[in-house]
Subunit: 407 residues, 2 copies
């Protein structure tokens, strides 16, 4: 007997019929002898409806009150799923965030979970009751309703799994697992049986939208095995778990890419301490998030060339800031390009294997793809190329590392 936390997103509970299907899935898991805690999101479309309602009253709405409104979305779902379970003879009990007592800080609309009281849930599980918890919401110390922001229901599920020391946290989505890369770009992309947390973090942060990065971080921190599965078809999904030292690692697990990048380069920046900080603090003050940062010694030896990438939406704003800064910093030139993409290969296996980078660069060179920027981490190599090469680069790399074949 295992304790399993299952999370169903908005699409999975998007109608009365789909809620009935979720009830059947929960009952199937329970009838295998497992204890089940279910975390649900608001029915798809409901959160948008509530947001529009609030904004028709005032925009922006007062955040404390906005959270009170948004929290009703999940409260509707926990009730309906519990009604569906009970009607099928399965004892069930719903909990709002406040009822569990998912304690958060007071940062309305983007609260962080501080603590979870597992007492009531454990008592229910011990009696064979399926526990249905509202995702995305909590309560702060004085008792105000809070919401967790984007991907909050995944975070709730992982945090609950951690608090309950669950055997597995299953995230049901509209895809059947994590793929070596986007199957729309590479048709023979392969579903991974297993991937480790670090790899999943790199995949998620580079634009694979299967899981919210925050919930993967949480799962990694508390060592909660995560599994991504489809709510619409049966299958094992992909297990995201701690790195398994005993197994031969695949060199590369997947290829991620990001279409929405733009790069900015400052040429001939005086090479003295504090310059990089001075530039980036101005960018940060404008609420622009910086992705890659690369610095190289300039051709003359006394200046440096400094490049960073931002989201394409922030490109013009960032360019304006740099052009304003240029005279006071004494730099030679500011250049920018918003027709670039980032492509990355990811794999914990590259830690212990040389030659990965050269395989990557050679494969791209064979197709005449010019590499504009390179950045590396322990388990990732990213390159920036012209956007016209995106699909070609991903396909070439997928083939070069034999990702269509199981490791």
């Amino acid at each position: 007997m295992a304790l399993i936390v299952q999370k169903y997103g908005g699409t999975s509970v998007g109608s009365v019929e789909r809620i009935a299907q979720v009830a059947e899935k929960v009952i199937a898991t329970r009838s295998q002898g497992h204890e089940v805690v279910v975390v649900v999101s608001a029915m798809s479309g409901e959160t948008n409806r509530l947001v529009a309602l609030a904004k028709s009253v005032a925009d922006p709405p007062k955040e404390r009150e906005f959270d009170v409104l948004l929290a009703t979305g999940e409260q509707v779902t926990i009730s309906l799923l519990s009604i569906a379970l009970e009607a099928r003879g399965c004892p069930a009990r719903s909990y709002t965030g406040a009822q569990v007592r998912i304690l958060t800080d007071s940062a309305h609309t983007k609260a962080r979970i501080l603590d979870i009281d597992d007492q009531n849930i454990r008592a229910d599980l011990a009696q064979g009751i399926v526990v249905v918890v509202a995702g995305f919401q909590g309560v702060d110390e004085p008792g105000n309703i809070t919401t967790l922001g984007r991907g909050g229901s995944d975070t709730t599920a992982v945090a609950l799994a951690a608090a309950l020391k669950a055997d597995e946290c299953q995230i049901y989505t509209d895809v059947d697992g994590v793929y070596t890369t986007d199957p729309r770009v590479v048709p023979n992309a392969r579903r991974l049986e297993q991937i480790c947390f670090e790899e999943m973090l790199e995949m998620a942060s580079l634009g694979s939208k299967v899981l919210q990065i925050r919930s993967v971080e949480f799962a990694s921190k508390y060592n909660v095995p995560l599994r991504v599965l489809s709510s619409f078809e049966d299958g094992p999904g992909t297990l995201i778990a701690p790195e398994d030292k005993s197994m031969e690692q695949a060199l590369i697990s997947g290829i991620a890419f990001n279409r929405d990048e733009a790069k900015l380069t400052l040429l001939g920046v005086p090479d003295k301490p504090g310059v990089a900080a001075q530039i980036l603090s101005q960018i940060a003050a404008a609420n622009i998030e910086v992705d890659m940062i690369i610095q190289n010694i300039g051709a003359d030896g006394t200046t440096t060339d400094f490049t960073f990438t931002v989201h394409r939406n922030d490109y013009k704003k960032a360019l304006g800031i740099l052009q304003g800064l240029a005279p006071s910093l004494g730099m030679r030139e500011v250049r920018g390009d918003d027709q670039i993409v980032k492509v990355s290969i990811i794999g914990v296996g590259m830690r212990s294997h040389a030659g990965i980078a050269s395989t990557m660069f050679q494969a791209l060179a064979n197709e005449g793809i010019n590499i504009q920027l390179i950045s590396t981490s322990e388990i990732k190599i990213s390159v920036v190329v012209h956007e016209k090469y995106l699909e070609l680069a991903v396909r070439v790399l997928h083939a070069a590392f034999n990702l269509d074949k199981a490791a």
Copy 2:
């Protein structure tokens, strides 16, 4: 400075525009220097939508979970009203029943309020914050969400006013006050400036649907002055308050009527102890509510004639029960009539004035209206007449007691 509890029903908060109007009314009250606590219902139509949603999942839905669903209706309204108030520069804070801590028993869908914690509300009011409370809902001792059933938001408002020792509890509705009788029957019916609790209870129980009887009982018990007002037009409404001994009382305050009555008569029932109880216990066991009960000595001196009235919907069922009982009780005959109505005159003034009954009976006799049954209480005289006389009887009595003129 007074502390005022205002309650707005579903129609009054039925759209974003109406919520804006309610916000303006609340702000107007506050700018007169008052402390304001607002109780709101779900937006009109919302509760029906939620009921339909639950029943599409399972019918009947599990009651505990049904309450979780229904409670979201008022939670949406408290949020939107608070957002509207804040957007107009008025500090506001919403509370669900659980957040106030409106403690109820655990009778889901028809819970009773046991206690109200006024600590948080008082702290907010002291800071000049308008407190917005979800009507109709509470929380039981273990923390389950409960709802109060029909008229629950009125009950919440009155209970809060009692707990806070408010100066007045204002119930905003779609009528502008309590009338001497139904203006659809008597066009010159007059809005009452004031009426006492006992009179209002008689008016409410006899079919004037302005206020739920439970909230009037509550207000009477805790001596909370109630005021019924229109949410759509300005005006003083009707104050429902303890009987004011210092004022000259109007003889009669109003005329109530009930169209949905049917009468059942048992003729020649043996006049011995326990017979009435035996009959009525069978009726009660069938969940039939009895309204008037009248017993008279029969013509032969050894038997009695026994009559009672029930809701017209229960007439056939009650008649069947009595016909089944007749042989064992040794009664002569069972008669019934479902073409009757009840008309009542109500007024605390009749306590100290003789001749009210004769004025009533003479007025009806003048129009040839035959009185079938008479029942009296300290502040009410009810008669049963044929249903064809309803409008005529009400008009005649309204004129006979000069109800179109202020007392």
